[in-house]
């Protein structure tokens, strides 16, 4: 395939270049000449069968800016990436910085040039372009190197070593070959090194002592065949310890012998210089890549360190949570007794006090009523007050009597017959005691339920111990709603049960607990105008297994998407040193119980509609 | 205070209680009786005056319309029935319309006007509270002596301020102190002392309360006169005795020994020029009142001196003038008009002639008069009592040869001593309404003081007055 070469420029210089190039390369390339770069725009492109533009020989005019010229050249679709030779007679070029930065300029040829050299450069650049843009099988050879230095630099190391030995022996006569086994130290770090070794065969490793006391092997490959060369540079001790790692054949030279060889045979110097140069450049490359590797390593190390730290923190947090859980369970257990005592005491008091008050039926009534915790709504209270006021004719007394729970006009009449103040005080005391009892019982049952929750959380499998019986699910739902009656006053509750809801095997108390927790959760989430819907039915899955399905649906604001997967995780959070069971201790317990019943529990939620769906295997399936 | 909302007119709705309705009906019915039925021994003028008197009696007793409205009604009826402008002309009018209207500007009313302006100035420049602080603070460690100081101060302030204003001022000073007093009985004792002392203090001078003014005017209408000083001379022995008894009673019954008062009334005498002018003007007026026998300037004129100075120096402004208790002045004027009308129409003689007074011993008569007045004073407004009783009482005095000054003093004092019920006097009403005293407290105290007072008035004081040269 024929390459395409452009020569751009006008004037004698351009014409001379055109002539030399087309004379020389005419057979391998088609050379087009243009006077100015804008002429390129009209050029249709390379001839058929020719390559893209491989080389542009640019001869800029006096006033032309080279950067601009080059940019207009590479803008042509047929010359996306040409080699560019600049032929100029300017002594200074200050307008090729952009092109250099892009590495567009392959070379600068100053006029006058040695006749034939422009053609040679052209040839070489075309060959380089073809190597970079291979066409077909053949990759053209670059023209051979003529100078010694470049030749030596391109020789294989062994060859160069051989030539060095030849040159040395020409100057000094034959040198004995020294044969060394593996593990011999040829040079020692920090010891004077006043001789030179030439490794003819075998391998030598270089090592330095590391700051931690061990020895750090630098490498094998970058060890050149000459050991001790660097030490010669400033007559200091050796920088490294060189040790044979295979059996080696070496030649030893004193400084004086080297000196004599260098003086008598200029070839020794040339080869020595190239070898030294090559050894140094090998070590430099090595050092550079080591440095890059080290930086990368450091980065990875830092990352690992961070990960480790995070992992440690997580572990500590987990351990703390686990401990907290243990402690909580322990406390729950320990609380059981005092809570039981509290509850029993409240009951005893509630039984004994009326008996103590036996002579005073009003006070006993008042006490019982206050204990029940029932409160009149404002409308009833006003009516009661009016009725009492009609008897006692004193708004203050009427308010206090009604507040104490005395609303029956008969009782009122009986009360105010005697000493009003004493009677009132008596009744108010009784009401106060009743209210205190009520508070006591409420507090005790609150603690008890908390303790129970903690206990279940700590030992969720305890219900496994109880025998699982076939249970009517609807029954358990009803029981739960009954238990929750006081919390459901502001909520509309509807229960729909299909006739074919299967019985399930389980502990009914546990299931009641599940519904209780789900309903409580729903009620908490809803505002006062909430609507709660519980549906029960039977479903059969794809494996034709029958399930009892219970869906608890509310119209609350819904569970945020990011929380949905976590709602069943029974968890404690510690915020500001306070342990909270915030996010669904109840749901966690429900989850555990359902799981123990071999069932599933799921959540589907969006604002305005949240459904918890529980499936429990039908009893007949488990038998 | 808050001025963002105006008063609500619909609240001023006509409240017509059953008593009001009955009062109006009875008044209307009685009005026609003397006019339609021929009253024996009474000429047409007298019959018309009797109609007016009956209407006034019923309306004062039932308060079917406000007392000051009754007062205005009296004047109106007198003009329309007794004067030369009568709708049905009289052969011999009892007086000119001008003379009936004149009741509204009677010298006694002028005296009162000055007294009111001075009293309101005392409130405006906080003289009353500062005096209270000055007088009470030294006694705060001993509640019993503090009570005595409080009563004396109230009585003295009551000489120049109306009873209501005195009581309100003292309650304003004392209520915060009383609220901090844990002992409820002591609280009640202090709260009782204020109406007691202001009612009794109201006897002290002609300007102290309306009955006094009505008595002064009625006596003057019969050609006699009581000077400011001689009034005080006559009343102060009675005041001191009654205050002493009242104090002993309250101390024994209510205020325990060793009680201290949490009394921190701020005292900040106003020293602005206007305040100093006020002190000077009121001091001068009081001095003129006290020295009347020496210079002869009538007390009403002295009072008007204060009015002129206070208004002229802008120490008291038009607003202050507007805020005066004109209803009280009109009520007094109504009483004066009623008394004047009764005399002018000859109704008094007819009324007195209904009973054969000669059969009644003189001493017993005075005692009976005092008792009746006191009983009425308890049930009615003291001023209304005086309005009704004094014209008749003085006529009686003339007919049986008693000194009219003695009877005037006695009736004024007796009507002021009616203070058994919350409704008897405004100070009582205030004390009761603060919730610190009960009706029974007021009744027992008022009964005790009234009983002793009436005995003293009927049996002792007329002789003392002769001894002191007040009457002669």
């Amino acid at each position: 395939m024929i390459s395409t070469v452009l020569v751009i420029g006008e004037g004698p210089l351009a014409r001379a270049a055109m002539r030399e190039i087309s004379d020389d390369i005419g057979e391998e390339a088609i050379v087009h000449a243009f006077k100015r770069t804008p002429d390129l725009a009209a050029w249709p492109g390379p001839a058929a069968g020719a390559t893209h533009v491989a080389l542009v020989v640019l001869v800029p005019g006096e006033e032309e800016v080279v950067d601009d010229l080059i940019e207009s050249v590479i803008a042509h679709p047929s010359s996306p990436d040409p080699r560019i030779l600049l032929v100029t007679d300017r002594p200074h070029l200050d307008d090729i910085s952009r092109a250099l930065d892009r590495r567009d300029v392959a070379g600068v040829v100053a006029t006058p040039w040695t006749p034939g050299s422009l053609a040679r450069y052209t040839r070489a650049e075309v060959a380089r372009w073809l190597r970079l843009h291979p066409v077909g099988e053949t990759v053209p050879e670059l023209p051979p190197v003529g100078s010694d230095l470049l030749r030596h630099l391109r020789l294989p190391v062994a060859e160069a070593t051989r030539e060095l030995l030849e040159a040395l022996e020409e100057a000094l006569g034959p040198r004995p070959r020294i044969h060394l086994p593996e593990g011999v130290r040829i040079s020692r770090e920090d010891l004077d090194m006043d001789q030179l070794f030439i490794v003819v065969s075998g391998r030598v490793s270089l090592a330095v002592r590391s700051s931690t006391g061990g020895s750090l092997t630098l490498n094998h490959t970058s060890t050149g065949p000459i050991i001790g060369l660097l030490a010669l540079t400033d007559r200091r001790g050796s920088m490294v310890t060189a040790r044979t790692t295979t059996p080696c054949e070496i030649v030893q030279l004193t400084v004086e012998q080297l000196d004599k060889a260098l003086a008598s045979n200029p070839r020794v110097g040339a080869i020595l210089a190239t070898l030294a140069f090559r050894a140094l450049s090998a070590r430099l490359r090595r050092a550079q890549s080591d440095r890059v590797a080290k930086t990368e390593l450091n980065r990875k190390l830092q990352q690992t360190l961070n990960e480790l730290r995070q992992a440690r923190a997580d572990l500590v947090a987990q351990a703390r949570m686990a401990t907290l859980g243990e402690i909580a369970a322990g406390i729950a257990h320990e609380l059981n007794n005092p809570v039981a005592a509290l509850t029993r005491t409240a009951e005893h008091l509630a039984e004994d006090l009326p008996r103590l008050l036996g002579s005073d039926p009003v006070a006993a009534d008042v006490l019982q009523q206050a204990r029940s915790g029932r409160q009149l709504d404002a409308r009833d209270e006003r009516a009661a007050r009016r009725a009492v006021d009609a008897v006692v004719k004193d708004p203050v007394l009427a308010r206090r009597l009604v507040a104490a729970g005395v609303t029956d006009p008969l009782q009122v009449r009986r009360l105010v017959r005697g000493k009003k103040d004493d009677a009132l005080q008596h009744v108010e005391l009784a009401a106060g005691v009743g209210a205190a009892l009520h508070s006591l019982e409420i507090a005790a049952s609150h603690i008890a339920s908390l303790v129970e929750g903690l206990r279940r959380h700590a030992r969720p499998d305890s219900s496994e111990e109880t025998e699982h019986q076939p249970i009517d699910v609807l029954e358990t739902v009803r029981a739960a709603l009954l238990l929750l009656g006081h919390r459901l006053q502001d909520v509309r509750v509807g229960v729909d049960a299909a006739p074919d809801v299967p019985a399930v095997l389980g502990a009914s108390a546990d299931l009641v607990q599940v519904w209780t927790n789900l309903v409580t959760n729903a009620v908490d989430a809803m505002s006062d105008a909430g609507e709660l819907r519980i549906t029960l039915d039977r479903v059969t899955d794809e494996r034709r297994v029958g399930w009892a399905r219970v869906r608890v649906e509310d119209n609350g604001p819904g569970v945020p998407a990011e929380l949905q997967e976590h709602v069943f995780e029974p968890r404690f959070t510690t915020k500001h040193g306070v342990v909270r069971f915030g996010l669904g201790l109840g749901l966690g317990i429900a989850h555990t119980i359902v799981h123990n019943h071999h069932g599933t529990i799921g959540l589907e939620s969006r604002p305005g509609r949240t459904v918890f769906e529980v499936r429990l295997p039908a009893a007949e399936e488990e038998r | 205070m808050i001025s963002r909302r105006p008063g609500r007119a619909s609240l001023e709705r006509l409240e017509l209680t059953r008593l009001n309705a009955i009062g109006l009906l009875v008044a209307f019915a009685l009005f026609w009786v003397p006019l339609l039925v021929d009253v024996p021994n009474l000429d047409t003028t007298g019959e018309r005056m009797l109609s007016i008197f009956l209407v006034a009696l019923v309306l004062f007793v039932t308060e079917a319309i406000p007392l000051f409205a009754t007062a205005a009604l009296i004047i109106l009826l007198q003009v329309l029935m007794l004067s030369e402008q009568a709708l049905v002309p009289l052969a011999e009018p009892a007086g000119t319309a001008r003379s009936f209207y004149a009741a509204l500007a009677d010298p006694v009313v002028i005296l009162f006007l000055g007294g009111f302006l001075i009293a309101d100035g005392a409130a405006k420049y906080r003289l009353d509270r500062n005096l209270a602080s000055l007088v009470l603070t030294p006694f705060k460690h001993n509640a019993r002596t503090a009570l005595l100081a409080l009563m004396l101060l109230t009585a003295v302030l009551g000489q120049f301020m109306s009873n209501t204003a005195t009581a309100a001022t003292m309650f304003a000073v004392m209520l915060p102190v009383l609220h901090s007093l844990p002992d409820l009985r002591a609280r009640a004792g202090f709260a009782l002392s204020i109406p007691l002392a202001s009612n009794i203090g109201g006897l002290g001078t002609p300007v102290a309360s309306p009955p006094n003014a009505i008595a002064v005017a009625a006596v003057a209408g019969r050609g006699e006169s009581i000077s400011f000083v001689s009034w005080m001379l006559a009343m102060w022995p009675l005041i001191i005795v009654l205050l002493a008894i009242g104090w002993l009673y309250l101390v024994v019954r209510y205020v325990p020994k060793g009680l201290a008062l949490d009394l921190n009334i701020e005292r900040d005498f106003d020293t602005r020029l206007s305040a100093r002018v006020y002190y000077l003007a009121s001091g001068l007026t009081i001095l003129l009142w006290f020295t009347e026998p020496f210079h002869g300037i009538p007390s009403a004129a002295s009072a008007f001196v204060a009015v002129v100075i206070l208004l002229g120096s802008k120490v008291m402004t038009g607003d202050d003038l507007r805020a005066l208790q004109w209803p009280v002045l009109w009520l007094v004027a109504g009483g004066i008009a009623l008394g004047g009308g009764v005399v002018a129409s000859g109704l008094d003689e007819w009324l007195v002639g209904l009973v054969d007074w000669a059969a009644v011993p003189g001493v017993l008569l005075l005692l009976a008069l005092a008792t009746i007045t006191w009983v009425l004073g308890n049930l009615l407004s003291n001023t209304a009592t005086a309005n009704l009783i004094i014209p008749i009482g003085l006529a009686l005095a003339v007919s049986i040869g008693q000194d009219i000054v003695v009877v005037g003093l006695l009736l004024a004092a007796a009507s002021s001593m009616g203070m058994m019920l919350p409704v008897s006097t405004p100070p009582n009403a205030i004390a009761y309404a603060t919730g610190t005293v009960k009706t029974s407290d007021l009744a027992i105290m008022g009964g005790l003081i009234g009983f002793i007072g009436v005995l003293l008035l009927g049996l002792v004081l007329p002789h003392l007055w002769v001894l002191l040269g007040v009457v002669g």
Partner: protein, 162 residues
């Protein structure tokens, strides 16, 4: 005629506590409890029918249905009830809301829960005195529920000897 204080609060316990703390006034002033705004309107109708005068409303901030703030603002805006003193009893002093209510709604006062009994007493007395003054009614029958010092000034100036 009695002045009436309406205690509008949905929590029975809080309502009872407020009434208890107002007890010193209860022999002089009629005190009526209400649990929501509808209930309050019922009370107002009853008070009117009895010939009494609604003088002051203590309303809770947050309540189901119409809030206390709205109710109080309605009272202020209605010429029939504009004389009524309005007090907001607020639990969570939601600054913005409260400020808005007091400033824009023209409410007279707000009391933070938990309230100080002495403050409540002083505020109620002060506001009742304002109402008496505003309506120009005789303060005498209501003295026991009014500000002791200011009510006596009213007595002095507005209520003469008889």
């Amino acid at each position: 005629m009695k002045l009436t204080i309406l205690v509008l609060e949905d929590e029975p316990d809080v309502r009872a506590a407020l009434e208890r703390d107002l007890e010193p006034l209860a022999r002089t002033v009629r005190i009526e409890p209400a649990q929501d705004v509808d209930d309050a309107r019922e009370v107002m109708a009853q008070v009117e029918a009895d010939g009494d005068v609604l003088a002051l409303v203590l309303a809770d901030h947050r309540m189901p249905g119409t809030t206390g703030v709205d109710f109080l603002c309605e009272l202020v805006a209605d010429p029939e009830t504009e004389h009524v003193a309005t007090v907001l009893v607020t639990g969570q002093a939601d600054q913005q809301d409260t400020i808005k209510a007091v400033n824009l709604g023209g409410l007279d006062y707000y009391i933070a829960k938990p309230w100080d009994v002495a403050e409540l007493d002083a505020v109620v007395r002060r506001l009742l005195t304002d109402v008496v003054e505003r309506l120009g009614i005789s303060p005498v029958k209501h003295l026991a529920a009014l500000d002791p010092v200011r009510s006596m000034d009213l007595v002095r100036h507005g209520w003469g000897d008889r």
